[in-house]
Symmetry: C2
């Protein structure tokens, strides 16, 4: 993957695009914005992606500095994921996406109904 730190001089849209490009990035950030979660908890909240995929997405977000990975040295292992400061600031994006998404779904429903 491309160097995660080669993001300078880019417009904020391109920078953001790269970070949230992952198919599950936004949904993961949304869930972590509500609560610190263990790997397994996250997996249960998102039953549509496999372990391998979830791991990859989390690693990516971690490399970009949006997510903290806290490993508890135990047996069995326990790993908690939470948002970093800059990750928490992403909330303003999550909020607007949520608002717009709802509007869009409503809009699509109306269109659908009108076509019948």
């Amino acid at each position: 993957m491309e160097d995660k730190h080669d993001l300078f001089g880019k417009c904020p849209f391109i920078t953001a695009q790269k970070i949230i490009a992952g198919k599950w990035a936004v949904v993961i950030l949304h869930n972590l914005s509500l609560k610190t979660l263990r790997f397994g908890e996250l997996q249960r909240l998102l039953p549509d992606l496999t372990q391998a995929t979830l791991t990859k997405q989390l690693r990516s977000l971690e490399e970009y500095g949006l997510v903290n990975r806290h490993v508890f040295p135990q047996v069995p292992p326990k790993v908690e994921y939470s948002l970093t400061d800059i990750g928490k600031e992403f909330r303003i994006v999550l909020d607007s996406v949520s608002i717009w998404g709802e509007k869009y779904i409503e809009h699509a429903k109306l269109l659908e109904a009108a076509q019948k």
Copy 2:
């Protein structure tokens, strides 16, 4: 590509994710939010994507109902792209992405500086 209208019952994050998944979707929407643009103008603003790719991205946004395509029956042809109503509402997302993106870039710069 998946049916663009099978978006019901999904959470707004997943819906939004599908729409803006395209590598250039957000940047294109940003430019169109500032001004109605002809195909060639858009291309000059985004020199990093080819004609074919730009066409595909625009078609996708058009199918999702965010972009209007206005063809002027002329020779040579002239085509203008603008945002639909629901496309214009996407502005709240664009604004928050812009704000967060700037913060992130600033944050990354500070990190970089601290490591030297």
